[in-house]
Amino acid sequence: MDLALDIISAVLLAAGTFFVFAGGVGVMRMPDFYTRMHAASLTDTGGAALIIAGLLLQGGLTLAPVKLLAIFLFLFLTSPTASYALVNAALLSGLKPKARNETGLSLPEGDAVKPAPKLGERGTNKPDEDIRKAAAKTVAKRTPAKKPAAKKPAAKKKAAKKS
């Protein structure tokens, strides 16, 4: 029985380690901030979940698996939120994601892949222009353009809370 448990947890641990390793390599190889965040956040959550699952099986019937479960829940909640907050803050501060052709990814010539279509030609992809306009709009919407700052900030905040 516990031989089976050991095998399963070994497999889970190996998978988890591979995920985290892939995340690390992803962060190194990816060209700009957003792609790096993409690589790092997904694999870390997944990798950590797998490693904890692997350890859970080793724990047996003591208190340790319950604590591991609590850690798993905590990680499961916080790490995607943290990545979201990071990327959102980056977008708001105006960090422009790099377009495909600027990344200079050299595709192997002889390959049958046709050259990457310019961003925006396909209907679904939003061109750079749109992303920039959307970011500008959200930033503009939140900063009170001309509203005088004279009103007491706490009062203004209370008004915001009621609405």
Partner: protein
């Protein structure tokens, strides 16, 4: 064998992060790296069998001190524009210091060798006598609160003094015209409210963080934990709430008068337990005289003293954070 690889890795990472902090020009990166430095230090402590200290370093070193640095950064210039001054004085003094230490350390006992002097004089007495005299599983809490309780009393007043200092320096909120402009600061703090997802998840997590803090506070006798860690954790929960909701909502949650009352009462509780022991005829901070059964007295004494430490550290961390946060908004 694995722990050797582990500690080698962690120690080298520690040095790399420290050098990175030294070389980076951007203050914001330096603060983030100092948070990572504390986390690596906590991992190191755990590898060296010091669970209590690892928890404290993680909570206070990585958590609270990074938040304080960021609070101060928000109120001062972001960029460290000055190129490092190339004068030889710091170089000479730093290398002289390093040379003296390496000269001295070459005769130090090897890491972990059991017949080092340190393990054979005072430590075995503590490990032997704690189950007998105080009967508390966690020997570190027993030594912290009872055998060397006077040290921890001094420690509580060091934290109390930090709160006095921040209140004396940043307490009086007088409008200063050349401090950071109101709209700029207003803009930054409003952005945080816009993050809908972190606010929801944060609000879900804050009660559990505070609950875990209380668990660490009262579980200090049986496992790694105690007043300092609990204070840091509970304060981290409240600070997370004020970060997400804006500091005026945070101050509604834990009002100003309450946190400074907490600071004073914690210190008074600790000193009061000491004086109570004197009134019952024992030495200062001798908990055995509190009840007929000395072991019961020790248990109650340690519990009360750790509660005093927890209250003071929570109060101080919250007051200091609010002092920094309120300084920006006039």
């Amino acid at each position: 064998m694995m722990t050797i690889v582990f500690s080698l890795f962690l120690l080298t990472m520690l040095v790399l992060v420290a050098v990175a902090i030294l070389r980076t020009d951007n203050l914001f990166t330096a603060v983030m790296l100092s948070g990572i430095f504390s986390l690596l230090m906590a991992a190191n402590f755990f590898v060296l069998d010091a669970a209590d200290v690892a928890l404290t370093e993680a909570v206070i070193g990585a958590g609270i001190s990074t938040v304080l640095f960021l609070g101060a950064l928000a109120l001062t210039a972001e960029k460290d524009r000055s190129p490092p001054v190339g004068s030889w004085v710091p170089l000479i003094s730093a290398s002289a210091l390093g040379a003296v230490i390496i000269y001295g350390v070459l005769q130090a006992p090897r890491l972990g060798d059991p017949n080092a002097v340190v393990h054979n004089h005072v430590a075995p007495w503590y490990l032997e006598k704690t189950p007998e005299l105080i009967d508390v599983p966690n020997v570190v809490t027993a030594v912290l609160a009872s055998f060397r309780g006077y040290d921890t009393l001094g420690e509580v007043f060091v934290v109390f003094i930090a709160c006095m200092g921040v209140m004396a320096l940043l307490g009086r909120v007088r409008p200063r015209r050349d401090s950071i402009k109101l709209t700029e600061y207003e803009e930054r703090s409003r952005n945080l409210r816009h993050h809908l997802i972190p606010r929801i998840v944060g609000k879900m997590l804050v009660p559990f963080i505070v609950l875990f803090g209380l668990y660490v506070q009262f579980h200090g006798d049986f496992g790694p934990g105690g007043g300092f860690q609990a204070g840091g954790l509970i304060a981290a929960g409240v600070i997370l709430y004020s970060l997400l909701e804006g500091d005026w909502r945070g101050r509604e949650l834990v009002p100003e008068w309450f946190s400074s009352l907490l600071v004073a009462l914690g210190a008074l509780l600790y000193a009061g337990v000491g004086v109570a022991c004197m009134l019952k005829g024992g030495h200062f901070l001798n908990y055995s005289v509190l009840f007929e059964d000395p072991i019961k007295g020790q248990h109650v004494g340690i519990l009360l003293v750790e509660l005093g430490v927890g209250m003071t550290v929570t109060g101080v961390m919250i007051t200091v954070f609010h002092a920094f946060a309120r300084r920006g908004v006039r």
